[in-house]
Homo-oligomer: 338 residues x 4
């Protein structure tokens, strides 16, 4: 019973189906009929004109978007525990040609205007110090927290005021939207986001994420950079097929809701152990080493997590679109019984 991560879950049957349907020959790269439907599909979803490009990984999508927004001599403000800082093997430095990540603080891997200002205001406006050019936030955050529309909008306002781009790492954008119950655009372009990495791999896809650009000039750059990074797959139709399958009949939302519901079921069983409110599909719980052992002995797999102050241990539990109800219920029972 695996609660390691949503990023290895099986591919959804309807995604498989769409991929098979793409087997018929078509133009290469992103010239196929499916890839060419993406702009419209995402524009409909976001109620606004946008440009959508596929990429195989969230790391690539994040960094291609940033590279279109930030010059090599610039900087990007993000949370100290943002995925781009901690877990992308230096990809932002590669894609931006050495731009600097500027680290802000905040509970639950969230940042707000005050935290951003605390980073950028002390920067002297001279050539000796790297100047900020963009802000990147993660929705839902690395701790499973969701920014509310007004919270994103506040960051968006600050970004505009300071002439900064706003990027959103939405590896779990679907889970955040499912939790918030809002329209996707409420936490994206209508809140000032210029470029969104919209994740599908963790949510039932196989190998396709979307970069959604609300500013088409960014997409024009990203298109060249995607090829230059070796991310323009010749059989791109199989990636477009995944995205379209997920958008149809709101599969992306349905899957995210399923994962979130599973997380809430577990969270409800251990409310007193929660390190962060559960607003997506990740649960961070205080668990002593002995308790961890006990759960593992019952067949539950998950990651250790650094213990918070005063605790002897902690763990991260992640649910997925296909978390088995019986496994979820079993884990909830087991953790409640500790």
């Amino acid at each position: 019973m695996k609660f390691f991560s949503d990023n290895t879950a099986a591919v959804h049957p309807r995604v498989w189906q769409a991929m098979h349907a793409a087997d018929a020959p078509d133009s290469g790269y992103d010239g196929d009929a499916l890839s060419r439907r993406l702009d419209e599909a995402f524009s409909t979803l976001f109620d606004t004109e946008c440009v959508a490009l596929w990429a195989a990984t969230g790391t690539a999508a994040n960094c291609l978007a940033l590279s279109a927004m930030v010059p090599p001599h610039g900087g990007v403000v993000c949370h100290r525990e943002a995925h781009i800082e901690v877990d992308e093997g230096g990809a932002p430095g590669f894609y931006t040609h050495g731009a600097k990540l500027m680290l802000a603080d905040g509970d639950g891997a969230r940042i707000d205007p005050a935290a951003i200002r605390a980073v950028i205001d002390p920067i002297r406006n001279d050539v000796h110090q790297v100047q900020p050019h963009a802000i990147s936030i993660t929705q839902a955050t690395e701790y499973g927290r969701a920014y509310r529309p007004e919270e994103v909008a506040a960051i968006g306002s600050l970004a505009r005021e300071r002439g900064l781009g706003l990027h959103m790492d939405g590896a779990r954008f679907a889970n955040a939207v499912a939790f918030l119950g809002c329209r996707p655009g409420d936490v994206a372009d209508r809140a000032g986001v210029d470029a969104l990495t919209f994740g599908f791999v963790k949510n039932g896809g196989m190998s396709a994420e979307a970069m959604v650009f609300f500013d088409p000039s960014l997409a024009d750059v990203a298109r060249y950079r995607r090829k230059r990074a070796g991310h323009l797959q010749s059989k791109g139709r199989y990636l477009a097929a995944q995205l379209l399958a997920m958008l149809e009949s709101d599969l992306w939302l349905e899957n995210a809701r399923a994962a979130n519901a599973a997380a809430l079921e577990i969270a409800a069983a251990c409310a007193d152990r929660l390190m962060h409110p559960v607003e997506a599909n990740e649960i961070f719980v205080v668990l002593s080493p002995a308790e961890q052992d006990a759960l593992r002995a019952q067949g539950f797999d998950f990651y250790d997590w650094p213990a918070p102050a005063g605790a002897s241990g902690a763990a991260r539990l992640v649910t997925a679109w296909n978390s088995h109800p019986a496994h979820v219920a079993a884990l909830a029972r087991a953790i409640a019984a500790l």
Copy 2:
């Protein structure tokens, strides 16, 4: 009846099958059981210890390999019409951080020791000029020519003598081996190749190429660079599955033979029009604009190609593992009838 390119052909049923079989959850990235079988599978194929890593595209595989062999201040000798020079959107410059491609000449996009020496011998051994650090050759070449084992070995000898790495872009390595009838290692490590991009996408795969490193220290670098480039997919097992399916029962060879046979059938029908000997699955033919129109009117699709001296037009015809026998026969007849 499409003879545009092999790079958009459908995925082979046994590859699909293997991908479905990978649906069961496993570790992420390349920690899954399938990815961990790659070294052994390729070592068996090449009769020597090697390290194999998947990547989604040939561009990525080529450039990751080069970036492990060449410092940013170095150079790579390749043919003037090599894919890395002409068709990768500047990816070598991105991955190597600005290393220089040094262009050699040769018929059929082939280079030989004399052509390489003509490029590197005039380079002054001082800091004002970029020094060569590697050679890259394409097997089969961009014009569908196959290097014989002794030809690769001659380049390999020169590389060793001058302290240069040797990279092979094997986007159509399978087609070359099928044509040569040799063991894969005869034109790879036994001929001095340090790193091989072994192509599967054009040959029945969907989204997985292999980087095969005969020098494990290169693989150690490439592993970090792959993640840094956003090419370490979290559901990597679906890529490994493709490669393993192709290696099993020599599907890679069987598919390449089918594509080559189709190309030979067409070539036989237009021997007097051939611009290059057909040694893989590409056919370059002199075709006047009117002849091109005539073929297209009969339903055949293909790329225009720059006309050779004295001709009014030319075309590139590419067959694939699944070129339909009836289409191939029809094209052969049509072209013979011109």
Copy 3:
């Protein structure tokens, strides 16, 4: 009697004097009074508003200018024998983060609109091929040829028409202007040049070249890039002093005229040996190995040069602002006597 290069000649006494005068303490970097006078001094010289920044070397100045004009995924058209291609150790690749030099042909290291179009017109307008973003020409060229105002203007027109930036490597800009007898702006901004590297080191300076930007937005980028490249010297006033000393009383022009006159004196003595018309301070002459030996035996030093077709040898002779009249006369006599 050294005719190797102008790039090692002594520093002009008035430059020394100005440097000493800068010894008084002042603000660091480019905040000193001298550095702050540069914009005005160059604006006066060019009869138009421009921004001028110092840099220690021509390589740095060229590449900083290019890096402000060309994105990492773009390309720069230049002559196949341009200094940026041949003799800057890959600096353009470093500064532009991997942009591609696109090589054009032309006699005397000169390019013209036809040669440029021959390079850029075949480039497919798609992401698989690097797109041109700028043109770089050298004034005077690497073979001592000077572009006429209308020749620069023709390139400038093409640049504007195609949306390309125009950079001029003016390592010997002074010599070209001295030869042409025009106003500096006639072969710079009035001819469509966006950024000029104006050389002073070869012309009596010690360690300061100027980047002159006719588009101030390029200067804004270059300023950050200069610091980022470690080229913002803390005692920048000693560099500004050199440039201002050279501009005062047209010392730059006086020195260039002296060097040109010396070159013409030598050229007149060997008109039948000239490989290129002498339009600056470089003389390329056919000289057999025996003749070279004879000259060297008389105490003349110079570089060998690749022999043109049909000749057994050649040499490059370079005069400088301080070439000793007796040495020049002696060389003219010696070469005439061969």
Copy 4:
């Protein structure tokens, strides 16, 4: 009476003298007689074979050295307030092609093995996280503190143990050695330093710093990178002359002692205001805004500094090799009288 910074002080007369003596023509770049004496001069100073290269700025010297030690996908541990992190405009990211600075804490901008381990031990040894490849320390630190030989050696031991390179930013190396009264090698190669940036510009030079490599293979790389960065000046003899003049008769040490003595004189007058022990030529003092105004009204210039907790203001005072004794005494009196 300027106490802003040592980096704008006048050039020492014996440095001027040596530069004038270099006016005679010689080979270009670093082929001249002076540049070729550097290895020996520095080897004598450090009692060991080493390779020394000039560069115009500390930023360039630091970053060229780092770029020879750290691959683009690697990291460098340094103090959170290190010059390379705070004041080089992102140059480390440029020169290393995007490597990551990993920030350690410590009083007085000093780091020790425990602080370094606190940074590197939590890094997972996998491709998702950037791996450290070097450590960089500043001697004297950005707060004017000097590492003792045994402190450097402890860091050197850790570096060797973990396979990391050790770089020392010695912009004020002379001041540190003058304070410590040790041999230069005691805090350099004998303590495990692989590459040292030895500063001369702040200490009486004009435009030359030295990169001293105790591992010659690093110098081989740096040599190419220096040209590639446009830092190989053609009249390099004027830079070599500065370095040799400073080494002769221990001018470097004499100048540093003078600056240090001036700093101590001021420090003695305000011992109760010192934020850091004075071990070089920088004095950080608590000074209320009113006190700052009072000093400025008397003609003293200096930088504001962020106030420490509980104080309303602070300032940085820097002395130089040529700080006027009367000015120093006056400042000491004035600050004591506050």
